[in-house]
């Protein structure tokens, strides 16, 4: 009797009903070829299970455990919780300091401390806070975001721009990477009063394998990717799109 190979496969996988099972088991008794084919299906199943079981024994990276527990954003040194950083910037500025120093300087210093980015150039800060306490691009980063195209990877740049796209809000947004000892990546969106930083995360350390291949800006933390995926409207801008957006001053009003 002839039984289709799909049926034999389903039998080997325990996926047939009782009636079919009875038919196949009868056929198996009489036909060594059917026995052989079923055996082949079972052997392949065992091979496949065995070949990939090693990963199950590996220790799970802490970042995944944290993500599963919803702790990604709270973890120091990984993803910076912007609301928390803003509260820190707004609430913890000592009064004396406010009087002594220009507010923006104090706030940017505090944000720098809160984020662990002490040592950023304070004359041309990359990240600072607006008067309303939002994290915004400082002069150095704003210059890069407004003028650099994504292909620009000349050495010595303080910030490298990555992907540009239009968000569902209509605003233009760009990802960026900051170089130097506190390498980090972020997502900034251009709003009416400048570049607002939506996400800022420390870049994962380059592994020995990938560092040979990847440009510095490619090792974006998953938090940035998630933020991009959640806010992007359509496809990222290509070079021409970036140039057009730059000419429009990254203005949300001018839809192409």
């Amino acid at each position: 009797m002839s039984v289709s190979d799909e049926t034999l496969m389903a039998y080997a996988d325990g996926e047939v009903d009782a009636a079919t099972r009875a038919i196949i088991e009868t056929a198996m008794r009489d036909d060594p070829e059917i026995r052989r084919r079923i055996e082949e299906h079972r052997a392949l199943r065992e091979t496949m299970q065995g070949a990939f079981s090693a990963v199950l024994e590996e220790p799970v990276p802490q970042r995944l455990i944290d993500a599963a527990r919803g702790q990604t954003a709270a973890r120091a040194g990984n993803v910076v919780d912007l609301a928390h950083a803003r509260r820190a910037a707004a609430g913890q500025v000592p009064g004396r300091w406010r009087r002594w120093q220009p507010t923006a300087m104090a706030a940017s210093l505090l944000v720098g401390l809160a984020l662990g980015y002490v040592g950023w150039h304070s004359a041309k800060p990359l990240v600072t806070t607006s008067s309303s306490g939002e994290l915004v691009a400082g002069a150095g980063l704003a210059e890069a975001l407004s003028h650099q195209l994504s292909e620009d990877r000349s050495p010595g740049l303080a910030a490298i721009t990555g992907l540009s796209f239009r968000a569902k809000t209509g605003n233009y947004c760009r990802t960026f990477s900051l170089t130097g000892s506190h390498a980090s990546s972020g997502l900034a969106c251009h709003e009416s009063d400048g570049w607002k930083i939506k996400v800022l995360a420390q870049s994962p350390p380059a592994t020995s394998n990938s560092s040979n291949f990847r440009p510095a800006a490619s090792a974006d933390p998953p938090a940035i990717r998630v933020a991009v995926e959640q806010s992007i409207d359509g496809e990222p801008l290509d070079r021409a799109g970036e140039i057009a957006a730059r000419q429009s001053g990254w203005s949300a009003a001018s839809r192409r």
Partner: protein
């Protein structure tokens, strides 16, 4: 608060499923680092959309589905974002040079990697992850007949690739 408790329980269950999510992700993308990134994206999305999970559905299938959808988004956007997110070198290197050393394991991995996406996912879910046809079909959002035929074709191709070069034609 019962809602907090159930959220805790689900998070514990997700943690317990991480090894299997990592294994599934490694059959989607080539480098372990990229695979873990995919898992992280999927887990973050799952927590954001916990309200969409029905407790009568299997949590593993639901997470596999989110992971698979995250990977599809990644593949779709890969063209333009390649330079930023997924350099092509990282995706195309199956590690053939070291194949001879660990013939069994690597040849199975390499064989699976050579299957078309549809078949690779079907094989991965049913043979590696041990999902029932019905659950695998649900993860892939295809009818069960489609799943069965992809699985059959994938198996046939794998068997042909893994068959020893001599001794089977005698």
């Amino acid at each position: 608060m019962s809602t907090n408790e159930s959220a805790e329980t689900i998070q514990d269950q997700i943690v317990a499923l991480l090894p299997r999510l990592r294994r599934f992700a490694r059959n989607l993308v080539r480098t372990p680092h990229d695979a873990d990134d995919m898992v992280q994206i999927a887990v973050e999305r799952a927590l954001l959309h916990l309200d969409q999970w029905h407790s009568d559905a299997r949590l593993d299938s639901w997470l596999f589905k989110i992971l698979r959808n995250a990977w599809i988004d990644e593949v779709r956007s890969r063209g333009r974002r390649a330079k930023l997110f997924m350099p092509e070198e990282a995706g195309e290197n199956v590690g053939e040079a070291s194949m001879e050393r660990e013939i069994d394991r690597l040849s199975v991995e390499a064989a699976l990697a050579r299957l078309p996406h549809d078949q690779r996912l079907a094989v991965s879910l049913v043979l590696v992850e041990g999902l029932a046809y019905k659950d695998a079909a649900d993860v892939l959002e295809v009818p069960i007949g489609t799943l069965t035929s992809r699985l059959a074709r994938g198996r046939e191709a794998l068997a042909a690739m893994l068959r020893p070069p001599q001794g089977d034609r005698s």
